[in-house]
Amino acid sequence: MNPRILPLVPVGAAFIAMLAVSAGAAPPTSSRQTPSGQWASPQVAWEKTCARCHTTGVGPELRARALPPEYITSVVRNGLLAMPAFPHTAIDDASLEGVARFVSTSKLPKPAAKR
């Protein structure tokens, strides 16, 4: 069996009028989180996952609290009450240590200036 698994090549494709599709070739895989568990940077991991709860009021605010990195990594690996646990396949040790340092040394953003 020869599986048809092709890279994405939308070149010259015809689209229905309501769609405005770019016609450029694209790479076959996403670069955001590959290999699994590794992240482009601590900030990307923070923004794509942690911040969705911890800057929206869903989870507790973590920034500007100088939380010990070891505490952060422990909670991420084990979970805590409503906080889910994240295995090494979701974030590897090196990436997690980076996130823990990033959060531990973070500051709250300055409020937007009033006009």
Binding site: P3, M18, S31, Q33, P35, S36, G79, L81, A85, P87
Partner: protein, 528 residues
């Protein structure tokens, strides 16, 4: 692209013998199986130590973690590795519990149905194998997350939309679809929009469903049915194979997207909501999987209960009335959306506003009127398949990290929603638990989704939640209602509701396809 050249995680070269064993497997056999897993995958991909196992034991269901603690976790990256793993499992009768992203919170998370099963974590298989912007299809591996797919579409300027469950940012399409999860867009019935699978069977055979077995086919992701018996269904909510690739249909981004809310003041309005909106859903005037969320669901998404109530037990009605008044929430809150050209949306908007006006109930709130406030904002994101975790706010409503989804199927009739709502509220109230609920509207059915929230750090409350959930299943069952999906603690009880013949057929298939019962025993109540 995943590679075997990944930096090794800090694990011993030879994993220690597991702290727990699968039922019926000797320590010697487990030791031998682990050694063979190591030979196949390398020591960094076979873990038994507490640090690596811990994330897989974190559950929200009302049972001890010990009942769901895996013996080991193994990471595979290739189909050929899975084939070799299965050979070892058959040799030693070692059961494996496969997960894709393992984010099935409230349904069992990443933990196996019974203690000692080896978790096969496929998160490393995270290749987006194909996106076809002409036919609007994708082919993905188990570890691909919605976030990853969304990023890919954005980075490559491909105007296709996803349909995601509420925890969109960290869950993945393959796992959600094969567990028959739902989303909120016109493609919200995810299994309906699935097309073609690759499945590794217990004997190592690799099946491609639908058109996938045809040499050189171009139709694997476009024609669901193939030829002869349609098989994809038996690989959903089952333990008959390991799905390693899945095709899916994606929705073209519409020129106009118009999300809206309709707020209703009274609990009993649920009857008229269903009667007013069902015809519009069936006629596809409202094309998406709209929701009817009750006041506590709405409130939980934006604040803890303690903001208005510091007591224990059921949140009093007087408090809910105060929340409705001060937070501007309805007893029921409908979220729906229109998609299409300006002309299409305008026509359907007139039909909808006319129907609401004629019903004499409901206040329509547009996106402009909501002005970026919650919960409208996150609902609008979900209905266009965007990333959010806002609904995890449910878990902070009472706190304590306990959650189990009770999700009976409802016929889309007002009388049935009144009966189900009354019954659920009554049973939850007996146990001091809140009725935090929404109806997710299908084609003619609705998923009546109740988040049974409880304090998991309180043993008494956890025991009550367990008892409550069992009673919800049994009392609903007596009235002909059964769930579309259930957590790992109640799979057998749920399976019983579908009758002995169904259970017998499930078992017959299991014995035929997996005679040693190595694949996820207990999933959906199915064992050899």
């Amino acid at each position: 692209m995943p590679s075997k050249k990944q930096a090794p995680v800090a694990t011993p070269a030879t994993p220690a013998d597991p702290a727990v064993l699968p039922a019926g497997v000797s320590a010697a056999d487990m030791h031998a199986a682990i050694a063979k897993f190591v030979a196949i995958l390398g020591p960094q991909n076979v873990v038994t130590d507490a640090d690596h196992i811990a994330p897989y034991t974190k559950v929200m269901i009302a049972e001890s973690e010990d009942l769901h603690r895996p013996s080991a976790v193994i990471y595979a990256r290739e189909v050929t590795e899975i084939q070799q793993i299965l050979k070892v499992c058959n040799e030693y009768k070692v059961p494996i519990w496969t997960i894709s992203t393992g984010r099935n919170f409230g349904y069992g998370s990443a933990a196996p149905q019974s203690a000692g099963q080896v978790v096969l974590d496929l998160k490393h298989m995270n290749r987006i194998l194909e996106v076809d912007p002409v036919l609007c299809t994708a082919l993905v591996e188990p570890g691909v997350t919605y976030q990853q797919l969304k990023d890919y579409l954005d980075e490559n300027d491909i105007p296709l939309w996803l349909s995601c469950p509420a925890p969109s940012a960290i869950a993945g399409p393959l796992g959600n679809t094969v567990d028959r999860g739902v989303g909120y867009t016109p493609y919200g019935e995810h299994f309906m929009m699935q097309c073609g699978m690759e499945v590794v069977l217990a004997d190592g055979d690799v099946l491609r469903t639908g058109m996938g077995g045809v040499e050189g086919t171009s139709a694997w992701q476009v024609f669901k049915w193939g030829y002869g018996p349609y098989l994809d269904g038996i690989f959903t909510q089952s333990n008959y194979g390991i799905v390693t690739k899945m095709g899916m249909w994606l929705m073209p981004k519409p020129p106009v997207y118009k999300p809206f809310c309709i707020r209703y003041d009274k609990d009993e309005d649920i009857h008229d909501i269903v009667e007013t909106l069902r015809p519009l859903r069936i006629a596809n005037v409202i094309p998406n999987a709209m929701v009817f969320a009750n006041v506590m669901w709405e409130a939980a998404a934006i604040m803890p209960r303690s903001k208005y109530y510091d007591g224990t037990g059921v949140t009093p009605d007087s408090v809910l009335e105060e929340i409705k008044a001060k937070e501007g929430l309805g007893a029921w809150n409908v979220y729906a959306a229109l998609y299409g050209t300006k002309e299409q949306v305008e026509v359907n908007w007139q039909i909808i506003t006319g129907a609401i006006k004629a019903s004499g109930k409901g206040k329509i709130i547009t996106e402009e009127e909501a002005a970026g406030t919650q919960p409208f904002d996150y609902r609008a994101k979900l209905m266009r398949g965007d990333m959010t975790l806002q609904e995890f706010g449910l878990y902070r409503w009472r706190g304590g990290g306990g959650s189990m989804w009770f999700a009976p199927v409802t016929a889309a009739k007002g009388s049935e929603t009144v009966e189900q709502t009354r019954l659920a509220k009554e049973i939850l109230g007996e146990y001091g638990l809140d009725y935090v609920a929404e109806y997710i509207v299908g084609m003619r059915d609705m998923h009546h989704v109740v988040d049974v929230l409880y304090d998991r750090s309180d043993p008494d409350e956890m025991a009550r939640a367990h008892e409550c959930f069992a009673k919800l299943l049994s009392e609903f069952g007596k009235r002909g209602y059964a769930v579309y999906r259930v957590n790992t603690a109640f799979m057998d009880q749920a399976a019983d509701l579908f009758g002995p013949v169904k259970r017998k057929i499930d078992q017959t298939l299991k014995r035929a396809l997996d005679p040693n019962g190595i694949l996820a025993p207990g999933k959906s109540g199915i064992r050899i």
